[in-house]
Amino acid sequence: MAAVLRTRRSTRRPNLLYLFIALTLIVGAACGSSEQTLEQQASRMDKKFMCPVCPSETIDQAQVQIAKDMRQIIRDKLADGESENDISQFFVDRYGIQVLASPPTTGFTSLVWIVPPVVLGIGLAALYMILRDMRRGKAALTSRASGATAGATPSTTNDALAPYLEAVDEEMRQSGPQRTAADNKVSTDSATINNGSNEVNG
């Protein structure tokens, strides 16, 4: 069956990807419009404020009186038609900025939001460049052939692994015939080298 599939699959993958993205967007658009009840809005807001007297619990989690009061305030104010920002400001005026479960996206505290994506972006770029360099290194190393590289794998094979190696070979046969020979060679080489080094150590 795999063989049949493979023959028909030459250009399908990118299309699948587009289909997936399109579907996600459609689903997103369809779901985004749903209305929130007041209680849903309130319980969502409960998670955004810290309980001022308990260590690192939101008012959603905390069971002390002040948290219950604050939950009630949110519901009362929402019922009065106040906006989320108003309520937020009300609590910040009362308890200071640390009442917010995550810092505002303006001023100094915006750093908390900006730094991670920037650093991760740089990291990703660095990773790409390192990988590219490693690939370049490959060209220089290929002349040293497989014997030099195989010594680095001290543990590749023994008798107990025979079934597994069979499975690997099977995999290799299925995914690309040209690689089977090379890989077998590596395995054998490393086994030989290993035995040598073991005798030295032991």
Partner: protein, 678 residues
Amino acid sequence: MAELGQLTLMLGLALTVYATLGSVLGARKGVPELVVSARNATYLITAVAGVTAIALVTAFVTNDFSIEYVYGHSSTAMDRSFLWVSFFSGNEGSLLFIVLTLSLMTSIAMFLSPRGFKDALPYTTAILAGIMGFFFFVLVFFASPFAPLDFVATEGLGINPLLTHPGMFIHPPLQMSGLVGISIPFAFAFGALIAGKTRDEWLDAARVSAIVIWALLGSGMLLGAWWAYTILGWGGYWAWDPIENVAFMPFLALTTFIHSVMVQKRRGMFRMWNVVLLSVAFVLAQFGMFINRGGPVVSVHSFGASTLGIIFLAFMLFSLAFALIVFFWRFNDLKSDRPLESFLSREASFLMNNFLLLGIVGVTLWGVLFPLASEFAQEETVTVSAPYFNHINGPMLLALVLLMGVGPVLPWRRANRASLKRWLLWPALLAITALAGMAASGLEKPIALFSFSVLVFVITSIGQEWYRGTMARRRAGDNFAVGFWKLVNGNRPRHGGYVVHISILVLAFGIIGTGFYSQREDTILNLGESFEIDNYRIEFAGHGEEPRADRLAQWAIINVYKDGKYAGELRPWSAFYPGFNQVSVRAGISTGPIEDLYIIPTDFLNERGEGVLAGGGPVTRAVFRVSINPLAWWLWMAGPIFILGSVIALWPQPAVELSPALNRRRRPTRSAALQTGD
């Protein structure tokens, strides 16, 4: 008992100093007797720590309130079975527990260490003995659990009521053992580096011990989540609290290591990187200890104000310096021998996995430290809590899950288009079908639907590999079950890894369900009244109470009707502990694979509407928080699967690394000496 305990603590300190110095000197000057003697001293440390622990247990059992620690953490009124929890419920006792567990793990690790590791073992011993020495030092001079109480007491203060939960018997020990246990793979790697064994000599010992420690940590965190879910009273299980984060970060770093180490094992690459990862995990574990014991960050879990913070900070910085010095000393010997061949290869996908995991570590660390930075820079206290972590770590965790479906099916070295299509077509097709199906059936929340379809992608990818592998064996004549068994048996680390991946999928299933679809309402009910939420009706049918020496326990008797049919009774429970001025609740949970009905009594009221904590008249009304937590059941299912996967991955292959009895008696044969685990 106090004198005995104090004495054995000092003996322990002396032994650790001897073991550390003896190992190093013996190895450097070439005195095998000294090395052996130091190793025996290390075994003795375990015995000494055991005796110390027994002394403290005895003090607890005999209610020896002349000891401050016993006075502060137990009482005659508490449930006696929780004395075991009292043992490690405070700073001093938990440090003693850490020494006990580390010494035990050290002895086991040394006993089982592979024969080929002999030359490096003294240095490993020295590192571990040094770490234990630090804990003994703190116990003797700063936090002795045997310090006398300076007045006479006939009754103790009792145990923190939040800790009286079955999960507490296992969660803290696992967590502490896991965090301090990171020392063991670290010591294997760095012992080898110091000894100049900079190739792969340490690899198997470090890998196996890292997986054991990692499994302990992982199960510990799951148990902690379960505890929070049933007792903390908000229906959640993970809050990105600083202490949770500092336990999560070393776990992630260790996860990175046990993935990346496979590349070193199979391809001889990433050698330097793996050493870095172990150091990161080790230092992060120290950082966790610092935060936990008097660090500058507030948390629900911490041991409260303690002056130990600075000592642990110093130890963390020392660990960091040690790791850096050894690393750069051996820098040139750690280079990889092989280049990367392709961006589409298993090596590259491991790198991507490393990047994401460490990215999450970095993001989390940034979130933990930012309040300090803010206080320092603008003298304003801010909170960085769940919304930040969910927004930034959420997508990265999802990407990591997606990678679980791609990475393992990529071949080593280089993938070609054909193999990509062969392995990714069905998962992609099924994921898209699932997405379309869910959208068509009217489920809300696009992010959740997208996440679910990612889970489908990964599970199909794993299932496909198992299916194809099994079919290959079937063609060879085995039946389906035998074929599958042979497939798994043929490469246990790999298939154990898949089982662990499945447990993560199961966990993610629960997280997505509860995270996106939970409903919650607060309601006040008179006795006999009912309340409807979703397709449930709950009836406040009765109230019971039981005064105990240390608490007044009350519970509501709730009849649950689902779709109009009686579906059972729940007894959400709450107790007031006057000694702690604290209320502890136990949720009434009706659980199932689809959803949990989760009820917590927040207040019991008398007819005047006053809260009834301890007496105050018959209860006529009560306030409940009623939640429906979809898929929460799956969170706890992940635990057993996770453990199963770890056990499969660790189950020794015939003639493997950790079989000292065999290796010692026999001259190693060729296959035994190869020490292959994979």
